[in-house]
């Protein structure tokens, strides 16, 4: 057993030390696995970042109400009467000032993207103190809250990252109205950071919304428990609203980028096949090149198994080197990269690519897989080729 082990390690060391001699072929193998790993990680990091931005936004303790069939906040319309009815509903938390209900407006305005200098949709949300209190992790980074009844607004830090002209103190014109930025807020990296917030009443009057709203948020007495509300809605014929927890809503909104992630996986899988073919080719050529060497070893009394292991080890080392290279490249290029895209509500969602440790694990697994497969078959062939044939072919 010990001799087998020392044989294997001897062959492995020999193979690996002779790698520089086959520089180009080794590099090709490294490159192949690096590219596949980098692609996979890029897509996963994108999906991860988007998911974190979406899922961080939704709270289980908040119910979100929209008009039936609207699907997104933008489309929905809710009347003041309906808001009043919801405020009477059971199952909603209350404090000294009454039920914790936040009727909100959602208007789209233009911002200029830093990256392209082009216009893009950003949401201007009208809400009040209650609404802000419902975003548990909302905190002001700079400046102060807007004063109700004025054209003041506070901007999310995601907007500051991706768009020009929203710095503290700036005056911004949307149509006929001038707005002043009086504060910058963070909501812990979630989608609300891609929004502008202002007084709901001001938005109603500036945008001809009368006394209507678009969505209602309500703090639930028991997180996740929509039962009392659903029952109440059934008895009130006026309340033809769709009811879900905020967490569910954002999970649905996040779906569309999940398709991107699936697309990414499919592409990297197909690419992996292509790279695998390249890697296999390289390993076959590399082994064929050394058929004589391997035959010599076996003539010297090294076992077939050690020859087999040596070749596999070589492929694994190259693939792992490629995997590391690919991960490093992906990390350098993509980790923390700011991106924004059109979200489910037709507005820009600002998010960052996020390269977490579990992604690296997936990349490493893929690299090992490539190394193993591309090493296995050539190694198998090398180990089984009769010594005589090897000598004759090489001659």
């Amino acid at each position: 057993m010990r001799s087998l082990f020392s044989q294997v390690s001897a062959v492995t060391v020999m193979n690996i030390r002779s790698l520089p001699r086959r520089l180009w072929m080794s590099l090709a193998m490294v490159l192949a696995s690096a590219v596949v790993v980098a692609i996979l990680l890029a897509f996963l990091a994108m999906a991860k970042g988007f998911e974190a931005t979406m899922s961080g936004a939704g709270s289980d303790a908040v119910a979100l109400m929209m008009r039936e069939g609207s699907q997104a906040e933008l489309n929905s319309v809710i009347s003041r009467d309906q808001v009043n009815l919801v405020e009477e509903a059971p199952g909603i938390a209350r404090d000294a000032e009454g039920p914790l209900v936040s009727p909100e407006l959602y208007v789209i305005v233009d911002g200029i993207k830093k990256s392209t200098g082009s216009k893009a949709n950003i949401p201007l949300r009208g809400l009040d103190k209650r609404g802000m209190a419902m975003r548990g992790n909302m905190q002001l980074l700079e400046g102060r809250m807007f004063t109700p009844g004025t054209n003041e607004m506070i901007v999310g830090s995601g907007i500051l990252r991706e768009f020009d002209g929203f710095q503290l103190g700036n005056e911004i014109r949307f149509g006929k109205n001038m707005w002043t930025v009086v504060g910058v807020f963070s909501t812990g990296g979630n989608v609300f950071e891609s929004e502008l917030w202002a007084d709901a009443k001001m938005i109603q009057s500036h945008y001809n919304r009368g006394s209507s709203y678009q969505t209602i948020r309500a703090q639930l007495e028991n997180p996740g428990d929509l039962e009392p509300l659903t029952a109440y809605f059934d008895t009130e014929s006026q309340l033809n609203l769709e009811l879900k927890t905020e967490a569910d809503y954002f999970a649905e909104q996040g779906k569309q980028l999940q398709y991107m992630a699936i697309f990414g996986r499919v592409i990297s899988f197909i690419m992996a096949l292509g790279a695998l073919a390249g890697a296999l080719n390289t390993m076959y050529t590399s082994v064929a090149d050394r058929a004589k060497e391997i035959a010599t070893l076996r003539t010297l009394g090294f076992s077939n198994f050690s020859a087999f292991c040596g070749t596999i080890a070589e492929a694994l080392v190259l693939a792992i080197a490629g995997g590391l290279l690919g991960s490093l490249a992906a990390f350098l290029f993509f980790d923390g990269m700011n991106a924004s895209t059109l979200g489910g509500s037709f507005t820009q969602v600002v998010f960052s690519f996020e390269m977490s440790p579990d992604l690296f694990v997936q990349g490493a697994v893929l690299a090992l897989l490539i190394g193993f497969v591309s090493g296995f078959f050539p190694a198998w062939r090398a180990a089984r080729m009769p010594v005589i044939v090897a000598f004759r072919n090489a001659a």
Binding site: A32, E68, Q71, V107, I108, S115, K176, I270, Y284, T341
Partner: protein, 386 residues
């Protein structure tokens, strides 16, 4: 001996290597074809825009409405030919997830402004104009939902409410239009603005946007400025741009994500080509001895050069064309299910030509260097080396 036979023998001497090489090229071009098609589908709106069409939207953002009276004021601007307006209906059929691209339009002027894009038989056109409840439906949408002329169809709106309390309108399919170009989107439907206006519970006299044609594309900028200046400091300020600029701005909203993805995929595409090229070049280098033998036998150097080059070109073409073909099959297969999101999915001749160019490039680059080596090979050194 025939050269082609020799090339064939050289190619197939290691069938496994040939297969692996072709397979890698196959994959590379499969992805190239599919992803480039996807990209061009996203950009199609830009390419198809007519250069004398302008779009007028609210300056705050294009989702903000404009007063309907603006359409007439725009028509009065000097140099404006036809004016039409529309509103986004936010349609869906039966279930909210079954979205329909539905717009409420002023029918006569709409058909005028889009006369080159929307092909509608005269009798269907007359029927639509004569029936307020009527709609015209694009061919691919009609196919997707199984609608035929004369059908009564309920379509709901995710935005507006019907006066009667619901969100659903009843329409009659009066016409099915086709596009003059296969890339034209026929995944939409149009309803009468008047009918929409009279039956909705709110929204009143507001429209989403105005589209107009100019008599002369050279006048676009002047006309756009005239319109925007005319509405400056009014109830709703406007932003007028060419249809092309408008579509482009819209697509840019999808953001750098698209750019990042295409960047990554193209990087991978070229890496695979480099890898494959490397193996192909190696395969020829391995045969130095044989090439020397051929030369000794009296094969003229240019003939050997041609043979080596033909071989690498053949391999690139076999793998590449198969990959492109597979991409085409996939796109054709996906067309139906993707029509809702990407109506212009089509692997057209431009993309195919581009792919072909890359194949030739791959074959030439990988073949040229070894072929040149073979050309210049000194027989004596070659044998010494072996």
């Amino acid at each position: 001996m025939n050269d082609l036979y020799l090339i064939y023998k050289n190619m197939t001497r290691k069938p496994l290597r040939l297969f692996l090489t072709c397979f890698a090229i196959f994959i590379a071009f499969l992805i190239f074809g599919a992803v480039t098609t996807l990209k061009s589908a996203l950009d199609a709106g830009i390419d198809l825009a007519a250069d004398n069409r302008l779009v007028v939207v609210n300056k705050i953002n294009f989702t903000q409405p404009l007063p309907i009276a603006y359409a007439q004021k725009v028509a009065a601007v000097d140099g404006v030919e036809n004016v039409t307006y529309a509103n986004w209906f936010g349609g869906y059929y039966q279930e909210a997830r079954n979205q329909i691209v539905a717009m409420a339009v002023e029918p006569e002027s709409w058909l005028q402004v889009y006369e080159r894009e929307i092909l509608l038989p005269p009798e269907q056109r007359a029927a639509w104009l004569g029936n307020r409840q009527g709609v015209i439906v694009g061919e691919s949408l009609a196919q997707r939902l199984g609608w035929k002329i004369g059908d009564r169809v309920p379509v709901s709106s995710s935005i507006f409410s019907h006066k009667d309390g619901g969100h659903t309108w009843d329409f009659v399919v009066e016409g099915i239009f086709t596009g003059s170009d296969p890339q034209h989107d026929t995944n939409s439907m149009y309803l009468h603005f008047k009918y929409f206006m009279e039956t909705q519970s709110f929204g009143g006299e507001w429209i989403g946007w105005i589209t107009l044609t100019t008599a002369d594309a050279a006048q676009n900028q002047r006309i756009a400025d005239a319109i925007d200046d005319g509405f400056a400091n009014s109830q709703a300020e406007t932003d007028t741009s060419t249809e092309e600029a408008f579509s482009k701005a819209f697509i840019e909203q999808i953001g750098n994500i698209g750019l990042i993805i295409f960047g990554v995929v193209f990087m991978a595409f070229f890496t695979i080509l480099i890898l494959v090229g490397n193996t192909m070049a190696l395969a020829v280098r391995e045969r130095t001895g044989e090439i020397a033998v051929l030369k000794t036998l009296g094969f003229p150097a240019p003939r050997i050069f041609k043979m080596v080059l033909t071989e690498s070109l053949l391999i690139a073409l076999i793998g590449g064309l198969a990959g492109l073909g597979a991409a085409w099959l996939i796109i054709e297969g996906a067309k139906g299910t993707m029509a809702q999101f990407l109506p212009n999915l089509m692997l057209d001749s431009g993309i195919a030509l581009q792919a072909l160019l890359f194949m030739l490039l791959l074959g030439l680059v990988t073949g040229l260097l070894p072929a040149l080596n073979a050309l210049r090979l000194n027989i004596v050194t070659a044998f010494n080396r072996g």
